[in-house]
Symmetry: C2
């Protein structure tokens, strides 16, 4: 049998693939999202066609790259969401985990979310468009299932959970993106403010004097 053969080859291919991904990671983190296939190949010490043999096209390479980071992020988010604490604490922990992640590795975040930024002359960078959605979508769907599993929302709970899942993820994403750019407050404050929003402080707030209020 050639099973051992196959395994050997597959192993070798997988190792190669990982090496290539790590090289791609380095280049993307160094050159920003407009990293070219040439540059990645050079960093990996090989030439373009090999990249294409492994990943099909640039989108494939990007998808593989994004999957690594996305999976890691989702794992830590799940952990935070599963910790033994009450609901509000866990919501805050999850928000904080996400924000800490994008704070710790902003280049990775920018790569995943903001394709062409800082492109100098040629602006053909990674087309994250097809893939950044998947990250948000995955987070939204996962959160939706968690909500639907654990919360009692009455009739129509599944629909509601999905809307909320995507909505909350979008809130976290947009607020985090803005916060990462401007750093207007500490992470803890941001987390608290967002949790307050989710906890209904918007509805509970009083109107300012005069006028009908927001």
């Amino acid at each position: 049998m050639d099973t051992t053969q196959r395994t050997d080859q597959q192993r070798s291919a997988d190792r190669r693939r990982r090496e290539l991904l790590e090289a791609a990671d380095r280049v993307v983190l160094r050159d920003g999202p407009q990293a070219s296939m040439n540059a990645i190949a050079a960093e990996a010490g090989i030439t373009k066609p090999i990249l294409y043999r492994h990943f099909g096209d640039k989108g494939g390479l990007y998808a593989a790259l994004a999957k690594r980071h996305t999976d890691a992020l989702l794992d830590s988010l799940r952990a935070a969401l599963d910790a033994p604490a009450d609901r509000r604490e866990r919501v805050e922990a999850t928000l904080d985990t996400y924000l800490a992640a994008i704070e710790a590795r902003p280049q990775v975040y920018r790569f995943l979310m903001h394709p062409a930024e800082g492109g100098q002359v040629g602006d053909q960078g990674f087309d994250v468009g097809k893939h950044s959605a998947p990250l948000l979508r995955r987070m939204g769907e996962e959160l939706a299932t968690v909500i639907e599993e654990r919360l009692d929302l009455g009739p129509g709970s599944q629909q509601l959970a999905r809307v909320w899942g995507h909505g909350i993820v979008g809130m976290m994403h947009a607020a985090g993106d803005w916060w990462l750019g401007e750093r207007p407050c500490s992470r803890a404050e941001l987390v608290r403010s967002l949790a307050d929003l989710l906890w209904g402080r918007l509805a509970a707030a009083g109107d300012r004097m005069g006028g009908p209020g927001f």
Copy 2:
């Protein structure tokens, strides 16, 4: 004086600019976001360098194009937010206005938010990366000022309003994006669900039997 001269010239230039933008609009809506400068120039009945004289580079053209749509959208949002009704009604009206807009002209929306989608072979499309953020940012900032003006949030209200502004906009955006792709429910239901979320139903929901709940 050559003021009249100047004015004439400026008028002519402005008219030209508008014509070019409308041509660009047509092409972008027809070909999707990977519309090339060549194609836009051809649609406008002229050649590339003129485009570059008017808009500097592709980003400039895009920015001008995006500004038109963004301004229009922001106007209708402001109107909805300023209508005479109570807070919840106006929040719902604003959400509905946004969702109705992206529902009515999904191509425009996709162009503004999802640069390269449906690209066939060459994937160098519009680099919306630098500009899609501005749309979300502008909406977030505007909402923030509205919140800060009209709501009594106690100390730290400005910070809080900004976080909420960006957070709510992000929620709306992500939920709308997901909804537009999957159409899992009617617009009215989506609006209701999001408003419910903002109104604290997440915090108020009971845990499901067993386990610590979400």
